[in-house]
């Protein structure tokens, strides 16, 4: 990929990232952090790519470790965020 395209993607993503969270109440700081945390779990994609590229046991072992850690980050992150936000759902059914 050429450097200019990458730089453009990077700069635009920075602005989008700034823009989407610029106004958020402190109530949502923790879920938002947790959700963003889960999103960077997509490093799993990178971990799978390097596992495919691996040419020896050292490379494969390290990339499998990366896959385990990234999966924990991504899946655990989304699940725990959902649990936090479950608490905010409107209560129609009264008492649980």
């Amino acid at each position: 990929m050429d450097a200019m395209a990458i730089t453009s993607i990077f700069v635009l993503s920075v602005f989008v990232g700034f823009e989407v969270v610029s106004k958020v109440s402190s109530t949502l700081h923790t879920p938002l952090m947790s959700g963003a945390n889960a999103i960077h779990g997509v490093i799993l994609v990178g971990a799978i790519i390097v596992a495919d590229h691996s040419e020896n046991n050292l490379e494969l072992g390290l990339s499998l470790a990366a896959i385990v850690l990234a999966t924990i980050n991504m899946v655990g992150g989304f699940v725990v965020t959902d649990r936090m936000l479950e608490m905010f759902k409107p209560k129609k059914e009264g008492q649980k």
Partner: protein, 469 residues
């Protein structure tokens, strides 16, 4: 799958992440936002199995399936077995440290990915690729070891106070210089050994960087390390030519930076002071004064009488309430007081609990109506007309030292000004200082009454005493 389709799916996932962050910024759309993010991540993960990413130049392009497929699926299964139950079973009180841990393993994963790709590329790596690899390894390792330390602080496996040792700042500065020096060495000389030295030094720097951070600042550091991990993901996206990783990582890096600043503002902390506290912190004398001073402690009946004749009561819940799982009993007490015609509100400090918004989650779990939850700015002007403020398992967030004692670790943090209320009741387990480790003068105030014991047990007694009146 053609590379065009693969790229389009990556783009769609990137858009899903933008929508996820957007959704997470508003209470109504937050849950949906999180699910959109999860869907984007799932689709992105599935797509890598259907497209072979070109490796280093000269390596023969192979056809599907991708290599090591069985191993990869096994590793994912292992990650699921560890991650899902941890996220499902964690007590809401311990959720902040779990988020810290998830962030740390993400940083570790990014560092490992960079190391493997570096080993794999060998001599064929371009200078730009090496620079991005070095960045990922350094920041990923700092995020990993730093997050482990924040986890240990929050889990109270180690002291929550700032850990500062004589000459500490020189050690930290020295480590940083070493990290930068070895980084240059890797870029110039190339080779596996310098890269591993770099990883070890970066892990060390992460530990030293977080150790001097006091308990109250830990959430800010977690948020910052979260942004760091985002940037490492973006950098590995460059090395792996993955637009998706660049978009996702940069989004998290940028939004995480803004979020860190917002959190620091909500807590009245200077971001600069938190970040570079490591370089400026001086060893402090332990502030826990051992002298015995008189306090006024009361019985549940005394508390009930005080409440019975109050017109307005503000409940200030803190982490102690969460630990005692007393949120349901608090609600019972509040309902009882409301039935007696007493005006009741909850005063929620932005960082009550262990993180901004943590207390709102716990009270929502106990079905406390939103309209009784007052934020700090709303409730502070009303303490003058409040007859009784009940502080349950909170300490630092009502400590007037934050306004009166320059130089104390929480100085400048906005507090709930319960000292303006007519009477103050503290439900505390003991005289032990709060998470920030600072003595609270308010405990010795003549208008303060202390009710010692487990928050839930004490509240239950107060409820039955109040019913009997």
């Amino acid at each position: 799958m053609s590379s065009t389709w693969y790229s389009l799916i990556g783009l769609a996932s990137g858009v899903a992440f933008i929508l996820a962050l957007k959704g997470l910024s508003h209470p109504k759309t937050a849950r949906r936002g999180n699910l959109i993010g999860a869907a984007g991540a799932t689709v992105a993960t599935l797509s890598v199995f259907l497209y072979v990413t070109p490796g280093k130049d000269g390596a023969e392009a192979h056809s599907l399936p991708i290599h090591n497929l069985g191993w990869i699926l096994g590793a994912i299964a292992l990650g699921l077995i560890v991650g899902v139950p941890a996220a499902r079973k964690v007590e809401m009180t311990q959720m902040p440290q779990l988020v810290a841990l998830f962030n740390g393993v993400g940083g570790g994963a990014a560092a490992l990915v960079a190391i493997v790709e570096y080993l794999n590329l060998g001599d064929t790596a371009t200078t730009a690729e090496v620079i991005f690899t070095v960045f990922t390894v350094v920041v990923g390792c700092v995020s990993f070891s730093g997050s482990i330390i924040t986890f240990m602080k929050l889990q109270e496996l180690m002291t929550t106070r700032p850990v500062v040792f004589p000459g500490g700042r020189f050690v930290i500065a020295g480590t940083l210089v070493a990290v930068l020096g070895v980084s240059v060495w890797v870029v110039v000389a190339l080779g596996t050994t310098p890269l591993l030295v770099l990883a070890v030094l970066s892990l060390l720097f992460g530990i030293l960087f977080v150790l001097p951070v006091g308990g109250a600042d830990v959430p800010i550091v977690i948020s910052l390390l979260n942004a760091f991990t985002g940037l490492t993901v973006a950098a590995s996206g460059y090395v792996l030519s993955s637009t998706l990783l660049i978009i996702a990582g940069t989004l998290v890096g940028a939004s995480g930076t803004i979020l860190t600043r917002l959190m620091a503002e909500a807590m009245g902390r200077s971001l600069f002071g938190t970040l570079f506290g490591a370089f400026t912190a001086k060893p402090q004398a332990a502030s826990g004064t051992a002298e015995e001073r008189p306090v006024r402690s009361g019985s549940p009946d005394d508390v009930a009488i005080l409440l019975n004749y109050a017109r307005r009561v503000v409940i200030v819940p803190g982490f102690g309430l969460a630990v005692a799982q007393a949120q349901h009993t608090v609600r019972e007490l509040a309902d009882l007081m409301i039935s007696k015609g007493i005006d009741v509100a909850y005063g929620i400090h932005p960082v009550a609990g262990r993180m901004p918004g943590h207390m709102n989650v716990l009270l929502a779990e106990a079905n406390v109506p939103y309209d009784q939850l007052a934020e700090m700015d709303e409730v502070n002007p009303t303490f003058g007309q409040t007859d009784v403020a009940i502080v349950i398992g909170a300490n630092d967030v009502v400590n007037p030292a934050a306004q009166t004692t320059p130089g104390c670790p929480i100085y400048g943090m906005p507090i709930l000004e319960v000292n303006h209320a007519g009477n103050i009741i503290f439900l505390k387990r003991s005289m032990r200082p709060g998470f920030a480790g600072i003595e609270n003068e308010l405990l010795y105030d003549p208008k303060t009454m202390l009710l010692f014991g487990d928050a839930k047990a004490s509240l239950t007694k107060v409820v039955s005493a109040l019913k009997a009146l």
